[in-house]
């Protein structure tokens, strides 16, 4: 078996499901972060420990590929492991299974650790303790997230940032951006198509008082690029979503 894999299980409650009773991609991304945080904590490299030293993990890029989504009241099993650690990035992967051990999908995430005062990335290889010993040899079969192209020249929808968009880090929560992107499609589109691959790159924090501009561009049928800018200036995040038709369950 592979080394250094952490396994977490979560119940898929109604709060985490979409109108089709499947776990939403926002909820999956949320659990990716909870599992990553739990694993980092258990290794001694977690949010709690790092926050004492004013350092915090920041999700830079993420790709999620799902063949099937967990259903309401299923158990989501998340396996997570660190593939590699470079000076600036930690690459952490995920395999998602259901309660029967069937693989539902995978994710690959790229994290940096920033100093909360300077807002600059720290050198991960300079951290005390042998962070390299937590690397795992388990392979991840999906492509890593790449830096998406800018599509900021397209038309956009203005969206003021609201109180409930803001999280404990006092910036727009990473899963809220995902909800804002999904809201660019009507309910009947989501009824017909599932997200096959979701990719996002977080670039700049947006804060209360900022205004977001949501850009969307169809790259090819069922494949869309997104860019969320703030105050018509900086890019908050870029994303790509590849949809595929749902298999009829009727």
């Amino acid at each position: 078996m592979y080394s250094n894999i952490a396994i977490y299980t979560y119940e898929v409650d109604p709060f985490y499901t979409d109108p089709n009773k499947e776990m939403s991609i926002a909820a999956i991304v949320n659990h990716i972060q909870i599992a990553a945080s739990a694993h980092a904590d258990s290794c001694g490299w977690g949010f709690d420990k790092l926050s004492e030293s004013e350092t915090r993990w920041v999700l830079a890029r993420l790709a999620v590929e799902m063949n099937t989504y967990p259903q309401l009241y299923d158990t989501l099993v998340v396996e997570t492991w660190v593939e590699d650690i470079t000076r600036l990035f930690s690459i952490r992967n995920f395999e998602f299974k259901n309660q029967n051990g069937e693989t539902l999908g995978y994710a690959c995430s790229i994290w940096s650790a920033i100093n909360m005062e300077t807002r600059k990335s720290i050198d991960l290889t300079s951290l005390s303790g042998d962070i390299m010993s937590y690397k795992s040899d388990k392979p991840c079969p999906i492509n890593r997230p790449v830096k998406p192209l800018s599509i900021a020249d397209t038309s956009f929808l203005d969206l003021p940032i609201r109180y409930s968009d803001i999280d404990v880090n006092r910036h727009v929560n990473s899963t809220r951006y995902i909800e804002h992107l999904l809201d660019l499609f009507p309910l009947d589109f989501h009824d017909k198509y599932m997200i096959n691959r979701f990719e996002i790159a977080y670039q700049n924090e947006a804060r209360f008082g900022d205004t977001l501009e949501l850009h969307k561009k169809e790259l090819e049928p069922l494949k869309y690029a997104f860019e969320i800018k703030k105050n018509n200036l900086e890019t908050a995040c870029k994303a790509q979503i590849k949809f595929k038709p749902k298999q009829s369950t009727n």
Copy 2:
């Protein structure tokens, strides 16, 4: 000790906390529903069982009073019990504690069970099995939620319903309304004041394609009434919030 009390514990993860690292009222209302559902399931009167008979529990009214909110990474302990069952309503109460057993607050909720086809309430006393035997003698020290007054003559903010507002029941999720109400106040208001009592009455479902109108009226300093109408016609829900100044933690 009191009879028929169910106890559930939940971790307060970053997803459930507000910008001040306290569990949000929306997350508390969500866990009220999760705990209620789990307890109803364990008693044999749950969503799963009732959905086979095309009956579903619907939250009609809710009052939450909090003296202190659970903090990030705390454990929220939820005690829940059924106070009374009438022909049309089940009255279910909650006590919230932290991991040290200290009481943080209480909630009182009123539920009806509706037939999904006729959308009408069913007679709870007509259900097979002895539902009355699940009543508890534990007291709840807060006032029951009352039917709030209409304030629909005040000015309002239009809000289109978006995909991510919609839940498994294919209507606007009950906690989303709460977020929409809290979004009527800026971040620095929430930094200064905490919700002491929150009360909501759900009246009509809003669905994708509907437009919400958010009404807000100050009743007295730090006490507000709200009404969310849909399509300038029916009332979706009414609410009241009493805030109080936060104790400085600095």
